[in-house]
Symmetry: C2
C-alpha cells in the first residue's frame, strides 16, 4: 500500500524545498510561475493533500468551530446547527457539534473543555449551565459567541432573541382579543429563557391592570408528556383559562394534541416556537417564530468577525421575533362579542406578522436583558 504523501514527497519530486511546496499550497505570491507549475504537477501526480492537523498544530488553532447545544434532536437546535454549518463551510471551516442533554447542565463545562482542547478556532454555545465563570481564566483565548441567552459571570459576544418582549407581545395579543384568564405553560424555571418569557407574560398582564393569578402559571414541564399533564390540570381547574401562552415547542407539542384530542379547540393558544403541522391544524396555531437559521447565521458571522478582530469590544446582536397569526391566537373568549372573530381558513395564505422585523440589530452594551432578572 502506498504510504501517506507529504509535503516533502512533493518537494522531492518537484526538486524544490518543502517550504516552496507550502508556499504553492497556500497561494503565496512569491513563487515563480514556472516552479509553481512544476510543484502543482507534482502535487497532482502524487495526489497530495495537506495534513490539516499538522497545520493546526503549527499555527496554534484548528480551522474548526465548535458548537454546543442542548440537543440535536430538537428541531430548533438542528436548524441552528444547519445554519452554522453552512456559514462555516463557506469560510472553509469545519464544525464540531456536541450536545449537553437536558439532564445535567453541569456537563456543559465538560463539553466545552473537550472542544477547547481540540484547539477550535472559536465556539458557539447555547448556554445551559448556571454559571460561566469557568470560562473566565486568563489563559482562555478562544472566542465564544453565546446564543439564546447571555452567560453568567462573563462578558462575551452573544446573539439573543428578545424573549421578554416577544412573550409580552404574545400575551398582549391574547389580552387584546378579550381574554382575561391567560395561562402560562413553561419548562423548568432554572432555565433563564423560561424566566424571561414568564417575566414578559407578567409584564403584559400588569400593563392591562391584571394581577397575576399564580394558579394560571404552570412551569416545570420538561417534556411534552409533562406539559400535557400540566395542561390537563390547568383545564380541570375551577376557573380554567380561556387562553394559554405555551412558552416553548415541547410544551406546545404536549398542549396542542391534548386540546385537539379533547375537542377543546375553543381555547386560544399562542406558541413560542413554530413546529411542523402547526399551520395545518384547524384552527392553525398562532406562533412566535424566531428563526433558528437567522440566529445560527448571525452567531456564525459574529464569530467570524471576532476571529478577524480579536480585540474589539464584546457585542450583543438582537434577533427579532415575529408573531405569526394563524387562528388559534385570535380566538375570542366565550361570551365575547364584536371585533374580528375571523379565523383564517387557509392560514398559509394570509399570514400576518407583528413585532420587530427586518435585520438583526447590534449593540455593544452586553447586558441588554439584565434588568429582567
Amino acid at each position: 500500500m502506498r504510504e501517506r504523501v507529504t509535503l516533502r514527497d512533493v518537494a522531492r519530486l518537484a526538486a524544490v524545498s518543502a517550504k516552496t511546496v507550502s508556499r504553492v499550497v497556500n497561494d503565496d505570491a512569491h513563487v515563480t510561475p514556472g516552479t509553481r507549475a512544476r510543484v502543482q504537477k507534482a502535487i497532482a501526480e502524487l495526489g497530495f493533500q495537506p495534513n490539516l492537523v499538522a497545520r493546526s498544530l503549527r499555527v496554534g488553532r484548528a480551522d474548526v468551530v465548535g458548537l454546543v447545544v442542548e440537543s440535536l434532536a430538537d428541531p430548533f437546535f438542528a436548524r441552528l446547527t444547519s445554519a452554522v454549518e453552512q456559514a462555516a463551510y463557506e469560510r472553509g471551516l469545519a464544525v464540531m457539534v456536541s450536545s449537553v442533554g437536558n439532564q445535567e447542565p453541569e456537563r456543559e463545562s465538560v463539553i466545552v473543555e473537550s472542544l477547547l482542547v481540540r484547539q477550535v478556532a472559536g465556539l458557539i454555545v447555547a448556554p445551559m449551565a448556571q454559571s460561566h465563570t469557568y470560562l473566565a481564566g486568563p489563559g482562555r483565548r478562544t472566542p465564544i459567541v453565546f446564543v439564546d441567552r447571555l452567560p453568567e459571570g462573563l462578558v462575551s459576544d452573544a446573539v439573543l432573541v428578545d424573549d421578554l418582549a416577544a412573550a409580552e407581545t404574545a400575551t398582549r395579543h391574547l389580552l387584546d382579543h378579550g381574554h382575561r384568564r391567560v395561562a402560562f405553560l413553561g419548562s423548568e424555571l432554572r432555565n433563564p429563557t423560561t424566566r424571561l418569557r414568564l417575566a414578559g407574560y407578567r409584564r403584559a398582564l400588569a400593563a392591562h391592570g391584571l394581577a397575576g393569578d399564580e394558579s394560571l402559571v404552570a412551569v416545570g414541564a420538561g417534556t411534552a408528556a409533562e406539559a400535557r399533564e400540566a395542561a390537563e390540570l390547568l383545564l380541570a381547574a375551577p376557573q380554567p383559562p380561556t387562553a394559554i401562552f405555551s412558552s416553548n415547542m415541547r410544551c406546545s407539542l404536549g398542549l396542542v394534541p391534548l386540546l385537539h384530542g379533547r375537542g377543546r379547540t375553543d381555547v386560544a393558544v399562542v406558541s413560542f416556537d413554530d413546529f411542523a403541522m402547526a399551520d395545518s391544524l384547524v384552527p392553525a396555531v398562532t406562533v412566535l417564530d424566531h428563526d433558528p437559521e437567522v440566529i445560527g447565521r448571525a452567531a456564525a458571522e459574529r464569530l467570524f468577525r471576532r476571529l478577524d478582530e480579536p480585540d474589539a469590544p464584546a457585542e450583543t446582536v438582537m434577533v427579532p421575533v415575529g408573531l405569526v397569526a394563524r387562528g388559534s391566537g385570535e380566538l375570542r373568549p366565550p361570551g365575547h362579542e364584536g371585533g374580528d372573530g375571523h379565523v383564517p381558513q387557509d392560514s398559509l395564505q394570509d399570514r400576518v406578522r407583528h413585532g420587530a422585523e427586518g435585520r438583526a440589530s447590534t449593540m455593544t452594551t452586553p447586558h441588554a436583558q439584565e434588568g429582567a432578572r
Copy 2:
C-alpha cells in the same frame, strides 16, 4: 496573560521528564505512585490540559468521527446525528458534521475529502453521490460506514433499512384494506432510496396481480410544495387514487396538509418516515417508522468495531422498519364493506406495529439489496 501550559511546563514543575508526564496523562501503568502524585499535583496547579491536536499529529489520527448527511434541517438526519454524537461522546470522540445539500450531490466528494484531510478516525456517510469510486484508491485507509444506502463501486461497511421490503409492506397494507388504485408519491428517481421504495411498491402491486398504472406514480417532488402540487394532480385525474403511499417525509408534509385543507381525509395514506403531529391529526397518519436513533447508533457502533478491528471483512447491518397503524392507512375505499373500518380515536394508546422488530441484524454479504436495482 499567562502562556499556554504544555507538558514540558508540567514536567519542569514536577521535576520529571515530559515523557513521564505523558505517561501519567495516559494512565500508563509504569509510573510510581509517588511520582504520579507529584505530576498530578503539578497538572492541577498549572491547570494543564493536553493539546489534542498535537497528539493527533503524533498518532496519525484525530479522535474525531466525521458525519456526512444531506441536511441537518431534516429531522431524520438531525436525530441520526444526535444518536451518532451521543455514541461518539461515550467513546471520547468528537463529531464533525457536514451537510451536502440536495442541490449538488457531487459536492459529497468535496465534503468527504475536507473531513479526511482533518485526519478523522472514521466516517459515517449518508451517500448522495452517484459513484464512490473516488474513495477506492490505495492510500485510503480511513474506515467509512455508509448509512441508508450502499456505495456504488466500493465494498464497505453499511447500515441499511430494508427500503424495498418496507415499501412493499406499506403498499400491501393498503391493498389488504381493499384499495385497488394506490398511488406512489416520491422524490427524484436519481435517488436510489426512492428507486428501492418504488420497486417495493411495484412488487406489492404485482403480488396482488395488479399491473402498475404509471399515471399513479408521481415522482420528482423534491420539496413539500412540489409534493403538494404533484398530489393535486393525482387527485384531479379522471380516475383518482383511493390510497396514496407517500415515500418520504417531505412528500408527506406536502400531501397531508393538502388532504386536510381540501377535506379529502377519505383518501387512505401511509407515509414513509414519521413526522411531528402525524399522530394527532384525525385520522392520525399511518407511517413506516425507521428510527433514526437506531440507525445512527448502529452506524456508530459499526464504526467503532471497525476501528478496533481494521481488517475484518465488510459488514452490512440491516435495521428493521415497522409499520405504525394509526388510522389513515386503514381507511377503506369508497363502496367497500366489511372488515374493521375501525379508526382508533386516541391513537397514541393503541399503536399497532407490523413488520420486522427487535434488534438490527447483521450480514457479511455486502450487497444485500443489489438485486433490486
